[in-house]
Symmetry: C2
Subunit: 575 residues, 2 copies
């Protein structure tokens, strides 16, 4: 492709709205274009890279036995009501009506549709296992779309669904997809880590997130350098503090004026924060968005509440809970802002972290302004509706597997694999007849890859201050020929020769024949990040060119023929 | 691909809802699946054929200088308000709101988006011409979705937009696209005819529809066998009857009891229907869907009103006009159901067909129950707000170019090319600076292909009573190997050998290794319409097979090696 004919609009300035490198660089290279908040289009170079990622995914999915299909983005509400997700999914489900007032959504995921296909098409164990996938446009009406392709409202996703006879079959399908994902992300040039993950709104028993490591990622992962433990912070199990064998001391109300935080009360009383109980207060909502109850969650004072674990413990949708107005909640339950403890609370669901019942003589709020209670003990002084792990595994906490200190890292979730089990097949009636003619629920898995987000993750991991440094496999073009003076016939002819030779060898090559200053061309070539750059300048008379890889600092003056040969070699090796 | 592993669900019965062959066969082969009315998904075989059509389009578009991009399906209302189409498009525009109440639509077409790109990216004549295209999911909230992929609510379309400096540039771009379309539809195996078309809601000056000829098509075209004239019936110009030189006779009111139709009044008075005037009465609506006026349209009694021409003459959106309630309209305008003529009408827009002013002494309704007027003449007895061609070119009418009798045919609109001119660039401010630094509006064209509808059109033209007969170029697989007895090791081995040889040569091959009766397999192979069928049966011991093309009745017993060679040859020639 000749750059003089290509629609290319690079930007010198960093767009105001962009904060992270991938967003900045994808906009500056003109590869993506914002239409409105969270909605992007792909221009020629951006779309080429997306299609390369899609092709890598398609090859590995087919290799792993997947069959590609293509379902609609528009989905009828009825199916979502059947699975129970019409309410559970919350406001991120982008809803619409047709001209007859019938309810639809724009699919954020396709479990319902695929389960619907299978329940009507599959009747016998002989038709299983199956793995169906699609690469398709998905929607999520995000409250705060941001970071360009990282969190957008319309995006491209590969979603696959496996259908097996039993749990052992699901385990095999899951392992195949896990292995395919490792190949896919490796081929895309990503440094990633598969980590255990929460199953969130999709539901199911077991899940891994594939996380591309990156400072700007929105996923926080906890991992252990000693053993193989790695999980999202939402998911990571915590080790409870050992139970105390201390004697229970008498409950004592103490005056603690103005000590509204854990830090203040611990300082005031001269005790450790790990000798206190922290309270967090919530209100919950029903399907009509009416308040339907209060929740008080308690963790040890030095811990942090893990919201995902709390929501899972309550078995409610993520969007149906928020921090309570303490005054309003106080009137109903007896809580007092800054001085709430588990004792003296009423008419609310009390959720207590799993380690608290084992600890003795803790300090907690007295549900009375400027007062705390000392020597609070579970059983004697308070009871719980739910006792479970609701705390966050922090950096330095002991690894739940081996006890070594935990590390944290940030990453971008580029893929996720789920064992759904029979959640959808049971709610939607997808069964098959086994060898004994007995009806059995089909056992399902689902497997997603954020295609557009993967593009952003590649840029996050492959750039420098001058622009993108594409891995060959997903580069929009493999090579760029920069002609210093396109009006010089010798240079133009040599460039044309190299261009034709490379193209004939299957190299995807750009010819920068624009009437621009060399400085502009070099800046654009660096910004666009094309892996191989061949510069045709004064040496053209002697048939020499400058050969440079975008990822290396070195340039070399070599013959045009050697430049062609080296380019073909590296492209064939790395593409 | 082994059929025993493929997700394939063919149907023996004709689905109730399906009326036309493509709909019936695409459902019976399990290639498409209905989700809800007008919304379909593609199963493995269907999706393979769609991707082949997409690839043919992509190759020819790239060859013609197009650059592929990919814009969002979700579009903000603001851009449509700028172009004036938020109202003009009517209820087929599928509208939705985001969580903040902002208005969006699901794009039925992308003129606004592409114009928005170009107005921000293009500033100089040096950046033109440009042709950008995408293959993408489109939406139309049809009142009556039907015929499967023919008229659906979510569908795949290729849309391209050309941007030129001037009309001469647009003419070139248009010709290039026209030529590319001829190649594309030829490669897809379609028999088609490019016909002049109305520009409808998109707007613009000049357009051709590419019509795949088919009895079940929704487009009616008028063509001349003597000259090259071919146009949609909506668009086709009519030849006015020659003006009469007869003397104007005195206006006369006659009693014509109960003669509400043209036929009745002509019979009653003993005159030709071409000596009468036919009235058609309409009400129009404004943007708030309130009635804002009445329209009376008049054509010669033997003519048919052409609704498209009337709407174009009135310069209103298609959805803002409908037949009037004659009683209600009568109170306002003096019209009388069954007895309305152009004389004595008031307070309504009178549109008169172009030939009426030249004719003399016609009979028209008297705007009085049971009475007509004789010797009605334009000028003396009635006037018009608009005089233009609003009649339909019927079969047998004279060709507007050469005068020979016109023929009609039906077809499926698979593509359309438009000269938009400066309609969008002017309303949305897309300009460039010419060589003299003068701002000029960019001159645009747009070019659509219904990808999913093309699939249906191919099936309409290529099937028999047993199923589909795919052209090689868009067949989901090139060849199918039917094994009579998969449990017979000799047969299984030979089939496997042929399968591997064909696959190694790049033939896309299905191996029907299912444990089904041969009759079932043959029926499925015919239904699926795979171009080459190789049957491995008793002859396997002698390494002979049966070779059959789906399109031919003949079968041949030949050696397996010759079967392989012939298959590779025909696939390479026709794919």
């Amino acid at each position: 492709m000749r750059l003089s004919k290509m629609h290319l609009k690079t930007l010198r300035e960093v767009p105001n709205e962009a904060e992270i490198p991938s967003h900045i660089l994808l906009l500056r290279t003109g590869m993506i274009r914002k239409l409105v908040s969270g909605v992007y289009g792909f221009m020629p170079l951006g779309w080429r890279s997306i299609r390369k990622i899609e092709d890598i995914i398609r090859q590995e999915m087919d290799q792993a036995g997947g069959q590609e299909i293509h379902m609609s983005a528009v989905q009828p509400a009825e199916l979502w009501e059947e699975s129970g997700r019409w309410f559970a999914y919350g406001p991120e489900l982008w809803r619409l009506k047709d001209r007859n007032g019938r309810d639809f959504c724009l699919g954020p995921t396709h479990e319902e549709i695929f389960t619907d296909i299978i329940r009507s098409d599959v009747s016998s164990y002989r038709q299983l296992p199956l793995n169906l996938y699609q690469i398709q446009t998905k929607y999520r009406d995000e409250a705060r779309p941001r970071f360009g392709l990282m969190r957008s409202r319309e995006f491209i996703m590969k979603d696959a669904y496996s259908f097996d006879r039993d749990q052992a079959g699901l385990d095999r399908s899951y392992e195949e997809m896990y292995a395919a994902y490792e190949k896919i992300f490796t081929r895309c040039g990503l440094t990633f880590r598969p980590v255990e993950a929460d199953t969130g709104a999709i539901g199911g028993s077991n899940s891994h997130e594939f996380t591309a490591l990156s400072e700007v990622g929105e996923s926080e992962i906890a991992y252990c350098e000693k053993c193989q433990m790695a999980a999202t912070v939402e998911r990571a199990e915590c080790v409870d503090a050992p139970a105390s064998s201390a004697e229970e001391l008498p409950l004592e109300e103490v005056h603690t004026p103005g000590t509204k935080t854990i830090e203040e009360v611990a300082d005031f009383l001269g005790i450790g924060q790990d000798e206190t109980i922290k309270a967090l207060l919530f209100v919950t909502y029903d399907e009509e968005e009416k308040e339907n109850g209060y929740v008080a969650a308690f963790v040890r004072g030095d811990r942090e509440l893990n919201m995902t674990k709390l929501i899972n413990a309550l078995k409610i949708p993520e969007h149906s809970i928020e921090f309570a107005d303490e005054e309003k909640m106080g009137a109903a339950t007896g809580c007092v802002g800054g001085f709430t403890g588990p004792t003296r609370l009423h008419d609310c669901t009390i959720v207590v972290d799993s380690e608290l019942p084992g600890l003795r003589n803790l300090c907690a709020g007295a549900c009375k302004t400027d007062y705390h209670l000392k020597n609070v003990n579970y059983g004697r002084d308070y009871k719980a509706d739910i006792i479970t792990d609701i705390k966050t595994l922090k950096e330095g906490d002991p690894c739940p597997v081996c006890g070594a200190p935990i590390k944290h890292a940030r990453g971008i979730e580029v893929g996720q694999v789920f064992k759904l089990g029979t959640k959808y097949s049971e709610s939607m009636g997808a069964t098959y007849k086994d060898e004994n003619q007995k009806e059995q629920p089909i056992v399902m898995g689902c497997y997603g890859i954020g295609v557009t987000r993967t593009l952003a993750a590649v840029v996050e991991q492959h750039h420098d201050e001058n622009g993108i440094i594409w891995p060959m496999s997903v580069a929009p073009y493999h090579a760029i020929i920069t002609v210093m003076k396109p009006d010089d016939q010798t240079q133009a002819d040599l460039a044309e020769h190299i261009y034709n030779e490379l193209a004939a060898a299957g190299v995807e090559v750009l010819l920068d024949d624009r009437k621009e200053r060399p400085g502009v061309k070099f800046k654009d070539a660096d910004l666009l990040g094309i892996p191989v750059r061949i510069t045709v300048g004064r040496g053209a008379a002697d048939k020499t060119i400058e050969y440079k890889l975008r990822r290396d600092a070195d340039k070399e003056e070599i013959s045009a023929d050697e430049g062609i040969a080296r380019t073909i070699e590296i492209v064939n090796k790395e593409k």
